[in-house]
């Protein structure tokens, strides 16, 4: 029987992390090199964790499916990273960042975790500056800040529109330094395909060498998964093409609980779909909403050009509905407002599946130079893709799947229910509840990697008895055989449909029935349709090539096989949660004005799903306690 223990330390919220750090066991510096730790993934969470653990003296092995750690998808984050520095003197504090994040997540995250995140946020900025990350500066040489959705203070640090890149290159340089010193063993082009559990402890992984096809074993005392989110289950998303759920899904199949899988974030400012040949959607930074105004024609079916629609016949939807936050309303709320307008026939452009993001007023007020300084490269990017000039015509934007708040269940120490298996960054479920605020993903990834795992993993290692395990242990062979068998099966089906064709169909089911608005009937249909599609996949997919060399078709097929299981669990979870909260909007549960109706009495819990067999899960509930911030109706009006 699984008992979920969050391990939140006792005591006042301000002291929890400090006293926990004191109470945790330490590993003698001379003994650290005797412990092997595997880190899978090299985004912000993985790279920062690997570097920090290696600096402490642990023996670290890193795996990534990329050719270089710097390719991880953290690199694509544009807007910024939050911290409670209060440099602008505008009323920020650790407490306010904690409050905004917990409220932004619609009270579906743990207080203790969120407070710690806010608490360590300031150290992240210090660390990054010390590494040479070029954050934007004021004329006096001090750091500059900008605003992001869901906050009334300016707490976002940024580097043009390439903040994710600069932060990742910072973590990457720390990681590379350790590799160069011979302290980290780095394995690129390796995809984790299985978790090895021995005597109930995570003791290693098996991975496919993507160049030779060889299935390799890696043994350790602890395993950290920092493998990102699963938005690619929707096929079309803002995620990079290779993002997938496979590492965490294979761990889930080996016993790790999957928490709140239905909490997915649909980002409001993405470029609209151009047509059937599309492989990916492009995000435009939320920072654009600092100065851009979101509007649609007031009259349904108004097909005039935006410039021909007079001011009085425009509906500035966010400013009208949420006067306090205006265009900086949180992502879930902004996305729903856009969908609502388009559903009412007020959508912009030929397709009607877009809203305008208009900079005309900001350009008038601040001048072209200031706007170019703030958003120049975003404007260029927009024009490049759409062949429209945003200096003259308002941008057209539409929501798209972007981030997944759900992930593997972890306790306060970031350890899953499988001892020795840690989960960091977007791959875990821990800090964002039912909706993540902008500029908080980078914060969480780096908090986990630089400032949480280096402390908590030591407590586990120092307090655990380990038997000697090498890669010749029979469990590794068993895991390798299972991977080889799945590979063989995928290559032998030789059916009539391509992997992408099936993935695209899965994406349509997910978007239509497990997307921005969900209802009981649709979810039940989705579950059946996904099951049928999964069955078809295993009978009718066509994966060419061999297992013994670089085979991208095989890589994709394995990932889609896992998405076809995860998709069903997302629908199952969404069906179970008979309330609306954050990014999870159940049409049956809303107020008269269309706002989300939470049910705190019955659903103040983390839904942690235990894998029984394909298509069958057991639900475990972790009840959430709110001692410091009593949940209230989340209003941005």
């Amino acid at each position: 029987m699984i008992k979920l223990d969050s391990k939140i330390p006792k005591g006042p919220i301000e002291d929890k992390w400090t006293s926990h750090k004191f109470n945790m066991k330490l590993v003698n510096p001379a003994n650290k090199r005797k412990y092997d730790i595997i880190v899978v993934g090299t985004g912000l969470a993985g790279a920062s964790a690997a570097a920090s653990l290696s600096e402490l003296g642990y023996n670290v092995t890193v795996l990534t499916y990329h050719d270089s750690p710097r390719r991880a998808h953290s690199i694509a984050a544009q807007g910024g990273i939050n911290a409670a520095k209060n440099y602008p003197n505008d009323g920020d504090s650790i407490r306010r960042l904690f409050y905004d994040t917990l409220k932004g997540g619609d009270y579906r995250a743990r207080e203790g975790n969120v407070y710690r995140l806010a608490e360590v946020s300031n150290s992240i900025i210090d660390q990054c500056v010390a590494q040479g990350v070029p954050f934007a500066r004021e004329y006096g040489g001090h750091l500059d800040n900008r605003s992001f959705g869901g906050a009334l203070v300016s707490r976002t640090f940024y580097s043009r529109s390439i903040t994710g890149q600069q932060l990742l290159l910072g973590a990457y340089s720390a990681l590379s330094r350790q590799v160069g010193l011979g302290k980290i063993k780095m394995f690129t082009r390796r995809e984790m395909l299985g978790l090895t559990v021995i005597d109930g402890q995570a003791r290693g992984v098996v991975a496919r060498n993507l160049v030779t096809g060889e299935i390799e074993s890696y043994a350790a005392h602890a395993v950290c998964l920092a493998t990102g989110g699963y938005s690619r289950v929707f096929f079309l998303s803002t995620n990079a093409m290779n993002c997938n759920t496979t590492a965490i899904w294979r761990a889930h199949r080996k016993g790790a609980l999957f928490a709140n899988p239905c909490f997915t974030q649909i980002h409001p400012t993405c470029l609209p779909l151009h047509g059937e040949q599309q492989s990916k959607l492009t995000l435009m930074s939320e920072s654009l909403r600092n100065d851009g105004r979101v509007w649609v024609p007031l009259k349904p079916g108004d097909k005039r050009k935006p410039g021909d629609i007079p001011e009085a016949e425009r509906d500035y939807i966010l400013e009208r509905k949420y006067p306090t936050y205006g265009n900086l309303a949180p992502r879930d709320i902004s996305s729903r407002a856009a969908k609502e307008a388009c559903d009412a026939g007020k959508g912009a452009g030929d397709t009607g599946q877009a809203v305008y993001l208009d900079f005309a007023d900001a350009i008038k007020r601040l001048g072209k130079k200031v706007i170019a300084e703030r958003y120049g490269n975003l404007f260029e990017m927009y024009e490049l893709i759409t062949a429209e000039n945003p200096w003259e015509v308002p941008m057209r934007i539409y929501p798209a799947p972007h981030y997944t708040m759900g992930g593997l269940w972890v306790d306060y120490n970031l350890m899953s229910n499988v001892p020795g298996l840690y989960v960091l960054g977007e791959a875990n479920y821990s800090d964002h509840g039912a909706n993540r605020l902008g500029a908080s993903a980078l914060m969480q990834g780096l908090a986990d990697g630089y400032f949480v795992i280096p402390y908590t993993i030591g407590d586990y290692l120092a307090g655990t008895k380990f038997q000697t395990v090498k890669t010749d242990h029979p469990e590794f062979q068993k895991e390798k055989d299972a991977v080889a068998e799945m590979t063989k099966k995928l290559l032998s089906i030789k059916g009539k449909r391509t992997t992408d064709d099936i993935h695209r169909q899965l994406g349509r089911i997910m978007w239509n029935k497990v997307g921005m608005a969900r209802n009981e009937q649709g979810l039940k249909e989705a579950i059946q349709e996904i099951r049928d599609l999964r069955e078809e996949f295993w009978k009718n997919v066509n994966v060419p090539g061999s297992a013994e060399d670089l085979n991208q078709a095989l890589e994709r097929a394995g990932r889609v096989a896992d998405f076809l299981e995860l998709g069903e669990l997302m629908a199952v979870d969404a069906l179970d949660r008979k309330e609306s909260c954050g990014g999870h909007f159940r049409e049956e549960f809303q107020y008269e004005d269309g706002e989300a109706k939470r049910d705190d009495e019955n659903y103040t819990y983390v839904a942690a799903w235990e894998f029984a067999e394909s298509g069958n899960w057991n639900l475990h509930k972790e009840h959430l306690e709110f001692e410091y911030l009593k949940p209230t109706v989340r209003s941005y009006k």
Binding site: H66, S68, Q131, A136, M241, D549
Partner: protein, 256 residues
């Protein structure tokens, strides 16, 4: 749909590092001008997969011009005919119905081909590992605002730090020199106060590793700057050269 294109593709195919490669001709039909170049290749690959044939291997990931994974020499130019973008940001509206398009991998001794259009850029990793960092452990650093940096310096550092490590500079250079890549990292740290303590050791270590990895010499043709998707300036190379010579002039900086 009207405006859609039919194209002939001449694509470099090579089974592995040791195999002999060559151009293979493919035809793709009904490509939307709004599709990206890589979406066009996705369509080709899906057709090949449907026939049970091996799809063309090419590297790609973010499709937003930032991860640096995508490469491709298109009609003789790294990242294709437009300046200052990556291949993944190139759209088919820049081609015409009936065009023949030549698609090749990066060509450089230090970037051996792995398969088809995928090359091994581990040599870049080795250069960064040799010195592309500021030596600071996690924790124990001063408050971020304790280090003041002028707007001018931060702009220069950011310009250099925008490098995505794609390797187009090497592919564009007739000598396959990596000077633009190396100098971008050297310059980022050379203009920042945090980078000063290791400034001269860093440049020597990185240049030494660059030479070891088999990259060619810089002969100032500026082809790298012309093809760089991020517009990294050759002024960085001048900065690197200045720092390198300074390092050699100062005896205390010379490596043991």
């Amino acid at each position: 749909m009207s405006g859609n294109m039919n194209l002939t593709l001449k694509i470099w195919r090579q089974a592995n590092a040791n195999a002999v490669g060559g151009f293979v001709t493919f035809n793709v039909k009904n490509i939307s001008p709004d599709s990206s170049f890589l979406e066009m290749l996705d369509i080709l690959n899906e057709e090949l997969e449907a026939k049970g044939e091996d799809p063309v291997a090419f590297e790609h990931d973010c499709r937003e011009g930032i991860c640096g994974a995508c490469s491709l020499v298109i009609n003789g130019r790294p990242h294709g005919p437009l300046a200052r973008i990556t291949t993944c940001q190139l759209h088919m509206r820049h081609f015409k119905d009936g065009d023949t398009i030549w698609i090749e991998p990066w060509r450089a001794k230090a970037f051996p081909i792995i398969k088809d259009l995928i090359v091994d850029r581990t040599s870049f990793e080795k250069i960064i590992q040799a010195g592309g960092f500021i030596s600071v452990d996690t924790g124990g650093v001063p408050d971020a605002n304790a280090i003041l940096i002028s707007k001018d310096a931060i702009e220069k550092a950011t310009d250099a730090a925008a490098c995505i490590g794609c390797g187009a500079c090497v592919a564009a250079c007739k000598n396959a020199s990596a000077m633009l890549f190396v100098s971008a990292k050297v310059s980022q740290f050379a203009v920042l106060p945090q980078g000063q303590p290791e400034r001269y050791q860093r440049v020597q270590a990185m240049v030494k590793k660059m030479d070891e990895m088999g990259f060619g010499s810089c002969t100032n043709t500026y082809a790298c700057e012309a093809e760089c998707p991020k517009g990294i300036s050759v002024r960085n190379i001048a900065q690197l050269n200045r720092d390198y010579f300074n390092a050699k002039l100062k005896s205390e900086n010379v490596e043991a």
